[in-house]
Symmetry: C2
Subunit: 343 residues, 2 copies
Amino acid sequence: MTTMRDVAEHAGVSIATVSFVINNTKPVTQATRARIEASMEALGYRPNAVARALASRRTRVLALAYPALDHRLGGSGMEFMIAAARRAGEHGYHLMMWPGTNDGREMTDLLGQRMVDGVILMEVQLDDPRVRPLQASKTPYALIGRTADPSDSLHVDIDFEQTVTDAVRHLYDLGHRRIVLVTGTQVSESYYNYGPYVRTERAFVDVTARLGLEPVIVASGHDAGAGRELAQRLRTEQPDATAVVLLNEFAAIGLLIGLHHQQLRVPDDLSIVSMVTSDEMASLAEPTLTIMRSPGTELGELAVEHLVRQMTTGQRPDPVLLPSILVPGESTSPPPHTPIGRR
Amino acid sequence: MTTMRDVAEHAGVSIATVSFVINNTKPVTQATRARIEASMEALGYRPNAVARALASRRTRVLALAYPALDHRLGGSGMEFMIAAARRAGEHGYHLMMWPGTNDGREMTDLLGQRMVDGVILMEVQLDDPRVRPLQASKTPYALIGRTADPSDSLHVDIDFEQTVTDAVRHLYDLGHRRIVLVTGTQVSESYYNYGPYVRTERAFVDVTARLGLEPVIVASGHDAGAGRELAQRLRTEQPDATAVVLLNEFAAIGLLIGLHHQQLRVPDDLSIVSMVTSDEMASLAEPTLTIMRSPGTELGELAVEHLVRQMTTGQRPDPVLLPSILVPGESTSPPPHTPIGRR
DNA sequence: GTGAAAGCGCTAACAG
DNA sequence: CTGTTAGCGCTTTCAC
């Protein structure tokens, strides 16, 4: 393995000078620079990242922390990871996967290893125990999602408030007056504190109030099976509903199937909007789903971008909330004359 | 930041002794060990992973190399990544994402940085340019998938031969005699060399031959839209087909929808088996898909397991091919009396 | 503009 | 069983 010393000898300079040209950290004559570069090329030299990290106290590694045991990441979670890794690479950083429980102890361990320059936190809870160790260690970090007090951390997130507002507005404009929001807060304890649900519910209450509608919220599980069951429950529990907004794409498609089994037609009998959904998933449904397309890729890029900026400038960028875009599919239309439960 | 020297002083020993207890690398009296551990605890000491890596020449980092620009990883790719990261953690390793083009140069760069102890290669091509630099560098690596000459690399893979054989056999036993395989080899150049397609096609030819059937192979794109179109083409191009085996879950669901639009019933008019598919995706279809469930999670764990074993024992474990399990859904049944194109 | 030298925090002989 | 010490390969003052 060829080291910096080898290059220095080959070029007839000191290793310091080699270091200077590699890092572009001090002026070096064009001539010696050229000589050194030639030597590096000739010897096939690559700087040892570990030695570099030890000496410079910067590893150029970012950690991507996500919950290992919890519900699996949806399609947009995947988009996020891939995009973040790509963008990190473009900035000269590596992205390290850091599965873990949502607990502060593990975060302390990670940070103690001094192996990462910064951390991106996925699936942030309103009261997230991982944040405190981060703050204490002074390690730069970015949140995907928000804690209860968003002001104290760099974060990027989907604008759930705007998203649900747009979704409801879309349905309202079509003529719907009885719109049901399906979330999962009540389903399991771990979701009680789940930002996307909580924020969406709050904003839903607001927007329905503004429009003079009742804020009907129904709980459901997160898979297709739960969606199918939901089709039955809706009919009895929400007989007057003409439209449903969901926060989970699997449940949305399951609902579609469940309704079909009940001879109910979408969108004629019931309109459906699926939030936090990708185009691919929308196209798997029949009829295709009207979705609020989640900005997974943009979010991943933005998180890295902002984190890197903070690390280089030392200043924390402002939070960013990205809107979801309404992508009309075939699952929304004006409401039926008779709601599904009144026949 | 507290270092090993701090711990040593606090415990009244040399740093070597501290190192010995941390790494369990030399016998140490129970008494001094206890004292040292107490000191570590008291000072909140965590070993610096970077210094450790430099001194020991082992980073305890594994790279997960996957193509950045190519088609997006399916659900099982995601499963794979998550599982690999988890299992790596259980072995005391970190998993670093390494998006890249499928090119050897980038691999050489990665290895030159000496930042990873081992590499896992996803989406391996039959003739993969990343393998040569790996071999040259002596870095342990594991392939997910196989090169044309599988004997020269540690690898784990789905047993596509077995999988397609089982799928065809299942249909044959139901009475089908005109079974169409849908792959993507012809669709784009980058798939020409794609192991899963190539191997599946070959095995399909074999198994149909053994059963005395014609080896009908049709090309299709990889999304739901392509699947929908396929429904039309099948009827004219393969009028006698009674069953279809696909290698892409999105296309499979698209096909289902396309057939539905043509008033064709699944499985009454046409049976469908979707390979490399997850239970979740199967449940999104109506009717639910009969699938060959892809062992994404097992594969991820196995890849790490074998790579770590190779790194510790120095011996290359035998390759492993994992079967896909047939999970019956609602999309297969005995064939119709009249094939879809003969009405 | 270039070089000498002191670390970065730890591992691993080697000595005792 | 424990301590001394020489690095690991690079960055970064501080002289020249």
